[in-house]
Amino acid sequence: MDERQDQESGVSPNNAPADGGAGHSERGPSRRRSAHLDQHLDTDALSAYLDDRLDEPERTLAASHLARCEACQGDLAELQATVALLSGLPQYRPRRSFELGPAYASRGQPSRFSRFLPLIPALRVAAAVVALLLVGVTAADIRFADDTRPPAQQAVSRSTAPSTSETEATEGRQTSEDLPAADDAGSSAGVAEPAGEQADRALQAVPAAPATVAASNRTADTSLAAPAEADPATDRAPSTGSNRPSAWRLAEVGLALVLLWLLVGLVGLQRLRGTSDPRAGA
């Protein structure tokens, strides 16, 4: 910064007599840039003049000043010489080619998916959450299968488990122990149905499985954005199979599919990230 000041006030005054007293008296630090007729050109102005980057009124003023001011002519000449030297610096020929090897053609073309690379951490979290859910649901399922409780109570567990937080769902055993206390909640859900009818519905529910999976997929998506919001969606998945003993199985299959989907995505993305290694194709 000081350098620039020195340069201007140090070089130009030596030749100040050349452009008359007016130029000298007008040189104030505040008006340096406004290119008055007899004002010396600062380095910004000289540099821009050199590249023909001055707007029209300034350009003419600078040109007419330069025509009469030896100091600025000298400055301009030296600046010009510097630029000429810079542009005359040699180019260097690379010693080798930087083309990408054929390995990049197969593995390194992630054009559509590499944008998902930043999602890897979120996917990991989602996969962990889904895995925990799966463990919880499976544990609860096994517990209920052992107990062979009446369907009404099974339904209760379904209505309580999702309403609690996701992590509590993993503690399926504890939830099931709470069940007897929550009996009336089960009856309010109106779930008492003959066992035969349930079996029929279970068969009907098989074609509906994709829908359940889709719902679970949505669960995974929303849990990516905000894991706290996943609860309503998890609620939805079991409710489609409500009152049926196979609902647990459906939930398990759905969760397993989601988990598989997440893991495949994760592995794929991680491999894709591996191809970003510059040495992979060399």
């Binding site: 980057r53 010489a81 930087f98 390194g108």
Partner: protein, 236 residues
């Protein structure tokens, strides 16, 4: 997948008439546009997964990328690595290309990479004092006319050594401006696109860079006289 006639893939065929028209066009003003359009066509091919198209882009721009990296890093091996990384990144991110010009896009990747490396290197001051910065032979013929007088070439080559050292002593942003605008000859707009800076910022950076370089050449007793002579060759 199985049946793929090796002789004519459809894309080059479709592109042929345009390419021929470009070659025919003797118009100087149209030349940069033609280059940019060829770049764009290659980008489109690369975006569809054609590695060959991307490698054409590599061949077209590797020298520019390498020279910018070399002057920023002042180390041939580091510059080679940065150049390779630039093209790998370019390939994996080719779908994010939205602009109209490929070179500034690539050079932006390259300069970002170089800045990362410089930051990691903590800018060891000893490096900037190296008299012989690069272990590669310079290619003087590429821009000097053959008609240049041997004596003036000797002066220029001598001054170039001092100038490289002076360049190394500049702050990074000024050095990059000087490299892009004066050494590589790119415009203010392209430089602004590469560095992500406003046009006014580019203007003041190049101005400060030139002023400093000039000052350093004048102040260096080893070359002040040479610089003086070089600076006033056109006296009648």
């Amino acid at each position: 997948m199985v049946v793929d006639p090796p002789s004519d893939p459809p894309l080059p065929l479709a592109a042929r008439p345009e390419a021929a028209a470009q070659v025919d066009g003797p118009n100087d003003a149209a030349a940069p546009d033609a280059e940019a359009m060829l770049d764009l066509r290659l980008v489109r091919g690369a975006q569809q997964g054609e590695l060959a198209s991307f490698n054409s882009l590599v061949r077209r721009h590797e020298q520019a990328v390498f020279n910018v990296c070399l002057r920023l890093l002042r180390d041939a091996h580091a510059a080679e690595d940065a150049t390779q990384e630039t093209f790998v990144k370019g390939w994996t991110a080719i779908h994010t290309f939205r602009g109209e010009l490929v070179r500034p896009w690539l050079l932006r990747i390259a300069t970002n990479r170089c800045y990362d490396l410089l930051r990691a290197r903590h800018r060891r001051p000893a490096r900037s004092l190296d008299a012989e910065p690069f272990e590669i032979e310079p290619d003087w013929t590429s821009q000097a006319g053959q008609e240049e007088h041997p004596e003036s070439f000797a002066v220029r080559a001598e001054l170039a050594l001092h100038l490289e050292r002076a360049l190394a002593a500049l702050p990074d942003d000024q050095r990059l401006a000087a490299i892009l605008i004066d050494v590589q000859g790119y415009g203010y707009e392209e430089t602004a696109a590469i560095t992500g800076a406003a046009l006014g910022t580019v203007k003041s950076r190049i101005s400060r860079a030139r002023a400093r370089l000039r000052q350093m050449l004048r102040d260096d007793p080893a070359c002040a006289e040479l610089f003086e002579r070089f600076g006033r060759p056109t006296e009648d």
